[in-house]
């Protein structure tokens, strides 16, 4: 009895295909097989959007994202052999510059390392006026300027943005040393806020 049932089942499905013809041909509807939209594959970087904040470097769970300074440029790289495609960098990126694509055919020979194995991009750095150290990317400094101008109280905005332009030319160490010399010491803001509060009362 069982054999007859299985035979009927087999005859019903005699025309339906089950095997995916992967390397050649198309699966009905989509190429190759059903690739979901949420599939996490090779990460792709939009270099114009990236500001070089290193958030992805801090969030990376497999320690694949690396960077190093070379003259006036900071070079970033992702090792695809080590990446586990967790998508944390995509979550963390403030500018949506890094995104995981649907590309999953990443097979390569170990001889052709550089092209297929690494995702690479670079950013230009800014020098400190005092000591000449390279401390941050230009895009990041500009982005902070934009953020400040959006959120600041309009009463003090002009003064603060003027100060920021001076402030952004120095590295964190030199800011501490030279803050009174340049006139960007924070105490003047505190005094000003105190006065405003008295006026409010």
């Amino acid at each position: 009895m069982r054999n007859i049932k299985t035979l009927i089942e087999a005859l019903k499905n005699i025309h339906s295909k089950e095997t995916i013809s992967y390397p050649i041909g198309e699966w009905p509807g989509k190429k190759y097989s059903n690739i979901p939209e949420t599939l996490r594959g090779k990460p792709i970087i939009n270099e114009e959007k990236c500001i070089g904040c290193e958030a992805c470097y801090n969030a990376c769970s497999a320690f694949t994202i690396k960077f190093f300074n070379e003259k006036d440029k900071r070079r970033y790289s992702i090792d695809i052999n080590k990446c586990i495609f967790c998508g944390r960098c995509e979550d963390v990126c403030p500018e949506d510059a890094i995104k995981l694509s649907n590309e999953f055919e990443l097979t390569h020979f170990p001889e052709e390392n550089e092209e297929k194995r690494y995702v690479k991009w670079e950013k230009i750095l800014k020098n400190c006026k005092n000591c000449g150290e390279r401390f941050a990317t230009i895009d990041q400094i500009n982005k902070i300027h934009d953020r400040i101008s959006l959120n600041i109280n309009p009463k003090v905005s002009e003064e603060v943005l003027k100060d920021y332009e001076i402030y952004s030319n120095y590295c964190p160490k030199c800011r501490k040393i030279l803050s009174y010399k340049i006139g960007i010491n924070p105490s003047k803001y505190y005094l000003r806020i105190g006065k405003d509060l008295k006026e409010m009362k």
């Binding site: 992967y22 695809i80 052999n81 586990i84 999953f104 990443l106």
Partner: protein
Amino acid sequence: MLSWLKKKARMYSPWIYHFHAGGCNGCDIETFATLIPRFDIERFGVKLVNSPRHADIIIINGPITKQFVPMLLRVYNQVPNPKVVIAIGSCALTCGVFNRNGEENYALAGPAEKIIPVDVCVPGCPPKPEAIIQGVIFAIKKLSSKK
């Protein structure tokens, strides 16, 4: 003439030996998924064999633990020439999440490249079954160029 025939026969029946060396079993499940009728890697003539002496291709999964090193070397030496090694998953390629940059893990003997020559890399954690099929096709290409 005979060698030509041998080579041609080898192209259409590359047999696979599957070697699991530590790791989380994710890549193993995907490699076995390629053997089921949906992905059906057997249409390329591939067959999973139990003895490395019968195999042409070795598939390695997982970061290689220190206990596994003598076994891996023994298996590698038992496979007759020409042979191709496929490393599947980020663990087999670079130890993946188990190894930080520069720091060594006390339990691991490093990625597969340190111990035996790897011919084809299939990155992913785990790779899709289609990606593994692509890796096997690459391996067959490499097998044709070897003597």
